[in-house]
Amino acid sequence: MHSPNQVAEKLEHYVRTQFFVADDDDFFSRDIHLWKEGYVDSTGAVEVIAFLEDEYQIRLPDEVLFDPQFTTINGMAQRVSGLLNG
């Protein structure tokens, strides 16, 4: 079982390290809109999806990019956890 919190933890670590989020960035959170706030650009969005697919051995459909839930770390974690736990 992968709880949303477990997925979110891994994803947050990935985003922070890959997209150079400063440790003292108080604005950043698991509920921040990653695309709109500029933490992850269009190219980076592909990297985030590839990370989730590789980490959890799942295939995310292209349309997920436009799921309003799939814009924050917590939202993505919910979606991935839902897929994993069926």
Binding site: T43, A45, D62, E63, L65, F66
Partner: protein, 439 residues
């Protein structure tokens, strides 16, 4: 069930449907599909089809790679409209938030009266499934697929005059050599920028395009344009190329120049596009101390799927040439299943494409092109003058400026564009409420 075609707004784009005979349009396709559910597995091509049935349900279908675009909008007041050109829907008065796309390789049923939106992906490309197969076997399969596609095209299109857009690279040279075998009237067209300016020598692309045409035995139509002529095509490149990202705009500009200045009336265009996506053969380009055309930081085997998915967006060839009433065929897109099946392990080798093409095409392509260092077609780099990238940088037409201009031309907010196109995919609705949301 009876179907009635729903014509697009704006200028219709004729579909190219490869499959059983008689599938020439939306009505014939949906009718035949209703009678034979397995039919969907046997079609390919470049198409965006929309029909409505007796039950007032709209049926939408888009080709497997998304070569043809299918934008649509719906509102209670204005009803349903679709077009291959998103600008047409804006001109009709739909709000930017009412603009949607049908994803590549998808079929959708849409029935507003019952708040129904059902999306179904009908095709998934095989990635890396030929891993472990003998090289000779793979080469023979690729050769057979290419021959099959050109044979199908010759049968469907008849012996029409063909012009191949020759960039001087392997992909387009292969298409020209294949076209030469299956069509009697074949010529090449190529683009050269800025040769009238002082100190600008013919670029490498032009040299290799001449070499390819001469070797294959076809005439070459050289389209020489000035920087000003090219910049004059920016509106076409943006609006009809349906994208603001520099790699697509720069390519669309070249095609817009070919369309505008190439005297190509009455000819059908064949291009070598999509091959680089199918084998993940792209690299960022360094120019003037900056890196252009950045890519996701993924290994080629992993990157490939996303590059292919990204063909969903941008209309740098079909859309741009359609503006000039020129029909375009991308033969590689018609055998995408074969190229995506190439083993993942092959993609790690920088020379994979040259090696594969050499075995498939042999001496039909000049040796110098196999041995040419890899470059982005028509773009130029720090070692080359006269490319589109240099001209665009000199004019300040890069990144943010292109996005701003695109938003202005479509009368959209720049912030909306980030929702409209993300990671190479145009936005599509997940359910009816998205489509019906108050803008």
């Amino acid at each position: 069930m009876n179907y009635t075609a729903v014509p697009p707004r704006g200028k219709p784009l004729a579909p190219l449907v490869i499959g059983p005979d008689g599938l020439l349009g939306s009505v014939s396709f949906f009718q035949a599909w209703a009678e034979n559910p397995a039919l969907i597995d046997r079609i390919d091509g470049h198409f965006a089809l929309v029909a409505i049935d007796d039950d007032f349900t709209f049926h939408l279908l888009r080709d497997p790679l998304g070569v043809n675009k299918l934008f649509f909008a719906w509102s209670p007041q204005m009803g349903f409209s679709w077009s291959p050109l998103v600008e047409d829907l804006r001109r009709l008065g739909y709000h930017q938030n009412q603009l949607w796309s049908l994803p590549s390789a998808c079929y959708a049923r849409f029935k507003p009266s019952e708040k129904l939106w059902q999306l179904q992906r009908y095709r998934a490309l095989p990635y890396g499934t030929w891993e472990g197969q003998a090289t000779d076997t793979i080469v023979e399969r690729i050769r057979a697929r290419l021959r099959g596609v050109f044979s199908d095209l010759a049968m469907r299109l008849g012996d029409v005059p063909i012009t191949v857009t020759l960039s001087g690279g392997l992909d387009s040279a292969t298409i020209a050599a294949m076209a030469r075998q299956y069509f009697s009237d074949v010529e090449g067209v190529t683009f050269a920028l800025d040769l009238d300016r002082d100190n600008v020598q013919p670029g490498e692309d032009l040299h290799y395009a001449r070499l390819a045409a001469g070797h294959i035995g076809i005439p070459l139509n050289e389209v020489h344009v000035t920087r000003e002529q090219m910049i004059n095509q920016l509106y076409v490149a943006l609006v009809h190329g349906q994208d603001w990202r520099d790699f697509n705009v720069h390519c669309a500009l070249v095609n817009a120049c070919l369309g505008a200045y190439g005297n190509l009336d009455g000819r059908m265009l064949f291009t070598g596009d999509t091959m680089n996506e199918l084998v993940a053969d792209y690299k960022p380009v360094a120019y003037a101390g900056q890196t252009f055309y950045p890519l996701p930081r993924l290994k080629p085997a992993r990157l490939r799927r996303f590059l292919v998915s990204g063909l969903d967006s941008g209309d740098r060839e079909v859309g741009v040439f359609h503006h000039f009433d020129l029909a375009t065929v991308q033969p590689y897109a018609l055998c995408a299943d074969a190229y995506t099946a190439l083993p993942d392990s092959w993609l790690a080798d920088d020379n994979i494409k040259a090696n594969l093409v050499r075995q498939v095409m042999g001496d039909a392509i000049p040796r110098a092109i196999y041995e040419r260092p890899k470059v982005r077609a028509q773009v130029g780099n720090d070692q080359q003058t006269g490319g589109t990238l240099a001209a665009m940088v000199a004019e300040g037409l890069t990144g943010a400026h292109l996005k701003q201009k695109f938003a202005g031309l479509l009368d959209c907010d720049e912030a909306f564009l980030d929702q409209f196109l993300r990671a190479g995919i145009y936005r599509s609705p997940l359910h009816f409420d998205h489509i019906a949301a108050d803008p």
